[in-house]
Symmetry: C2
Subunit: 300 residues, 2 copies
DNA sequence: AGAGGTTACGGGCAGCGTAAGGATC
DNA sequence: GATCCTTACGCTGCCCGTAACCTCT
C-alpha cells in the first residue's frame, strides 16, 4: 500500500533530481531511497524515474503523479497545523542567512521559533546572497534571509529589515576632513564583504568610474573577520554599523563619511513556492516580526 | 510522523463509531486500532475520540480533522488510479446483493471485475433490500445491488436492471383458466421472498383488500429454496422468471398469470457518498454494463 | 575514475496478536 | 455481567545501514 514515507521520498527525489541528494535531505542512506522509490513504483505499477542516464529524471508519468504526491504532503502538514498543537509540528527547516543577520537578530529569532515550535529543528547555512539564492532554487534551502529584491518569480519574498552601510575605522586612524574623498583612500585597504557582493562591486566600480587606481579592496567572506581586521587597524571597512553597536558605543570603532553613496542593505525572507512547507511562511512572518523590533532597522 | 495507516484507522473508527468495528473492518485486532489512534493523537497533539462513555465518539476537534483524513485517503486512491495500472489497485469491496442478482449475473460481474482489477477482493453478503440498505448506511457495506428506488439522500444509486415478477408452478399442478382468480389460491401455498419484502407484502395486502382469508404465504429468505419448493410441488411461487430460465426451458416449471398486477423488480446499485472509494462507483458502472447485457432485462 | 544507482545481508525496532485489566451502562 | 477500550508482553517481519557491485560519463 502506498505509504507517506515513499511519497515524501518521491517528492524530494524529484525536487532534488537524484536519489543521493534526497537521501541527504531526508537524513538517510541512498539504498533506503532506492528501496522506497522501488516500493512506490511497485505499488503504483508505474516507473517513476528514468535511471538509465547520468541523473535520475522523472518519467512523464512520474511528473503527472508528482502533483498528487505533493498535495498529499500539503494535506498532511495542514492537518497537523489545524490540529493546533504547535508543539507537535515536526520538521527540519534549512535556513540560509546572510551574515549580517547572524550578527543582529538571528539568535533571537531562533529563540522565539524554538519557543513556539519546540519540535522544529533548524539547519543554518551562512552565505552570501548569490549562493543563498542558488540554494533556494535547487531546494537545498527552504528559506533564506538575504538581500532583496528577489527577481526570480519562483521565489516568494517578504521584506524584513533595512540597514544602512557605513564606513568604519578605528579612532586612531588619521583621515582627512569628512566626507573623505576617494582619492585619500587609494592607499588604505578597504575591507568589506566578499568579491561577489553588492558593496564590493559598488566600491570597485566607483573607483574605476572616477579614473582612480583600483581600490585596495579586501573582500572577506566572514563579517566577524572584517570587524576583527578593522579593529586591528588593517584598514577601514564598509559594513552595516548595526553589527558593531557595541564597538561603537565603547569607542573602539567610529563611523565616518566618504564621498560614495552607500545604499542601504534591504533584507528579505525568500522561499520557494512549494505547495507544502507552510512552515517556511511561518518562519518568514516570525522573522519579519523579530527584525522589525530590532534597533537600527530603517523601515521603508 | 503522521502515517497513512493511522489516518485510515481514524477514518474507519469514526465512520463505524467504534474501535472494535474498525478492527473488524480493517482485518486486525482491537488493540492494534487503539495503538494506531493513540499514535495519531500523539502526533497531532489532540484527542480525537472521547472514550469515556459507551461508544467512542469523535471529539469536536476530531470531527474537524476527519475531513483532512478523508481527503488524504481520497488523494491516495486517486493517485493509484491515475497511475493507470489497474492491477495495482488493491482493496476489499464489501458488496451486498439481493438474491435475484446472485442467480443471474453476479458471477459474471465477479469474473469481469477480477479480470479488470485482479488485486481487488470481494466480500459478498446476500440479503434482502431493507437489510442491505441499513448495512450501507452503517458503512458495513461499500455497495449493494438491491431494489430501488433509494430514498436516502446519503446513498447514491444508479439503475441496473429490471426484471418482471411472475407466478410459477409445476406443469402438473391443476389451475383454473387464466388469469387465475385469487379466490382459487386461498388454499394453495404461495411461496415467495421473505416477510419483509415487497412481493410478500403486496400479495398479503391484496388478499386482505379483497376481503379474502389470508393467503397461505410461505416467505422464504432463500430464493433457491423457493425454487426447490416449487419444483417439489409444495405450492406456486412468485419470483422473477429470469432466475429459472433453465427450468422453464426444459419444462420442469411453467408460468401462469393471476389476477394481481405484479410490479417489476427494479434493481439499482447503491453506495454511500464517501469521498474515497471511487472503486464503488467503478463497480456500479461495471455492474450496470453486465446487467444491461443479461437476457431478460427490461430496460426502462 | 568517480558519481550515482542497485543488490546482498545482518541487526534493531516498530507494530501486531494474545491475554489480562479497568470502566461504563 | 456485557461491552468496549487499555495495558502488558513476547514475537515477527519490515526497514534500515553497511558494504560490495554495476553502469554510465
Amino acid at each position: 500500500m502506498v505509504d507517506f514515507k515513499s511519497v515524501e521520498t518521491f517528492v524530494w527525489a524529484a525536487r532534488l533530481g537524484g536519489f543521493r541528494a534526497a537521501a541527504h535531505r531526508l537524513n538517510t542512506t541512498q539504498p533506503a531511497i532506492s528501496a522506497r522509490i522501488a516500493q512506490l513504483e511497485q505499488d503504483l505499477g508505474v516507473r517513476l524515474f528514468d535511471r538509465d542516464h547520468r541523473k535520475a529524471a522523472l518519467t512523464p508519468k512520474g511528473a503527472d503523479l508528482l502533483g498528487y504526491a505533493e498535495k498529499m504532503l500539503t494535506l498532511r502538514s495542514e492537518m497537523v497545523e489545524v490540529a493546533g498543537e504547535k508543539a507537535c509540528i515536526r520538521g527540519v527547516i534549512r535556513l540560509g542567512v546572510a551574515e549580517t543577520i547572524v550578527h543582529t537578530w538571528l539568535s533571537q529569532l531562533i529563540e522565539r521559533l524554538h519557543a513556539l515550535y519546540p519540535a522544529v529543528s533548524l539547519e543554518i547555512d551562512v552565505d552570501v546572497t548569490v549562493n543563498l539564492r542558488r540554494s533556494l532554487l535547487s531546494h537545498d534551502l527552504d528559506i533564506a534571509f538575504m538581500l532583496g529584491p528577489v527577481p526570480e518569480p519562483k521565489l516568494k519574498s517578504r521584506p524584513l529589515c533595512s540597514y544602512p552601510l557605513a564606513w568604519v575605522a578605528i579612532p586612531q586612524l588619521e583621515l582627512p576632513a569628512e566626507p573623505v574623498p576617494l582619492s585619500a583612500m587609494v592607499e588604505c585597504p578597504i575591507i568589506t564583504f566578499s568579491r561577489n557582493t553588492q558593496p564590493y562591486i559598488l566600491i570597485r566600480d566607483h573607483f574605476s568610474r572616477q579614473g582612480l587606481p583600483p581600490a585596495r579592496l579586501f573582500g572577506n567572506s566572514s563579517l566577524s573577520t572584517v570587524v576583527r581586521m578593522t579593529l586591528d587597524g588593517i584598514g577601514v571597512s564598509v559594513i552595516p554599523p548595526v553589527i558593531i553597536s557595541q564597538e561603537l558605543a565603547d569607542g573602539r570603532l567610529r563611523l565616518f563619511r566618504a564621498a560614495i553613496d552607500l545604499p542601504d542593505h534591504a533584507f528579505v525572507a525568500a522561499y520557494p513556492l512549494k505547495p507544502d512547507s507552510h512552515l517556511a511562511q511561518t518562519v518568514a512572518a516570525l522573522a519579519a516580526d523579530v527584525a522589525a523590533q530590532w534597533p537600527g532597522n530603517t523601515p521603508n
